[in-house]
């Protein structure tokens, strides 16, 4: 069994403008959504500022809003975005 996971990360709205539409990343097994966010923050700018814990950032796992404690799986799609403003 591989010791890492391949994750498709997507960004929307102001996060997309700063970071692009998305990227493919590899993370250790048993990583959570929050651990992925921290891993991206640790890359430095522009990720650090945009995904900062000071900012309201929402996450979705496989196209469902999720808590950051949820665990990743191989091939997961994770999206980060600001609080939504539709309607």
């Amino acid at each position: 069994m591989p010791d890492s996971l391949t994750i498709q990360v997507k960004y929307f709205a102001s996060l997309r403008e700063a970071l692009g539409p998305g990227e493919t990343v590899r993370v250790p097994r048993s990583f959570s959504v929050g651990a992925l966010r921290d891993d991206l923050i640790d890359r430095g700018e522009p990720h650090a500022g945009v995904l900062s814990r000071e900012r309201a950032v929402r996450a979705a796992l496989d196209q469902r809003l999720c808590a950051e404690t949820e665990l990743l799986h191989e091939g997961a799609e994770v999206a980060f975005f600001p609080p939504v403003t539709g309607g």
Binding site: K10, F12, A13, S14, R16, A56, R58, A60, Q63, R64, L65, A79, F81, P82, P83, V84, T85, G86, G87
Partner: protein, 168 residues
């Protein structure tokens, strides 16, 4: 034995994310077509204001998360069918470039009696405002563009229905 007009229909729901405008009359006619059990239709239309947070607004761009948007609204409609005695739901949400006075969103609900249609329509809008992945960017008269901030009042509206909220 229920009367013919009380036989439950299969669940009817339709969600569409699109750029083009919609026609309320046509949508309501389709929503209640062939359903003699409908005694009430409630519809909500959200439109683009020409001002927001004290500034004029000259244009608006709506972004969404294709796939998740449709799926999340379908989950909301499932929740509405579980909570309220309703017969059919139609949701249309526009994306892309919009201008002041344009229609943005339609939620229409049919039911036997008005109470459940009123409630389900408001429930769906409160839910959609806070959980469907859409983002608005508005252009000001200066030409500057800014992302619209989410509102605490929208989260409070969701709390009324006993749904978990996420503080901003």
């Amino acid at each position: 034995m229920p009367a013919p007009n009380q036989i439950p229909l299969p669940r009817r729901a339709s969600v569409e994310i699109r750029t083009r405008d919609f026609d309320l009359s046509a949508e309501v006619a389709a929503l209640r077509a062939h359903d003699g059990g409908v005694g009430a239709v409630v519809s909500f239309i959200g439109t683009v204001r020409d001002r927001n947070d004290g500034c004029g607004v000259t244009a608006m761009e709506l972004e969404h998360y294709p796939g998740m948007t449709e799926r999340s609204i379908e989950v909301m409609i499932d929740a509405a069918f579980e909570r309220f005695d309703i017969r059919a739901v139609r949701v249309i949400h526009r994306v892309g470039p919009l201008r002041p006075l344009d229609q943005i969103v339609l939620v229409a609900v049919s039911s036997m009696h008005r109470g459940s249609a009123f409630q389900a329509c408001e429930f769906l809008m409160d839910y959609l405002k806070t959980r469907a992945p859409f983002w608005k960017k508005e252009t000001l008269p200066s030409g500057e563009a800014r992302w619209v901030d989410a509102r605490d009042s929208d989260e409070s509206a969701l709390a009324r229905w006993g749904l978990p909220t996420q503080p901003l």
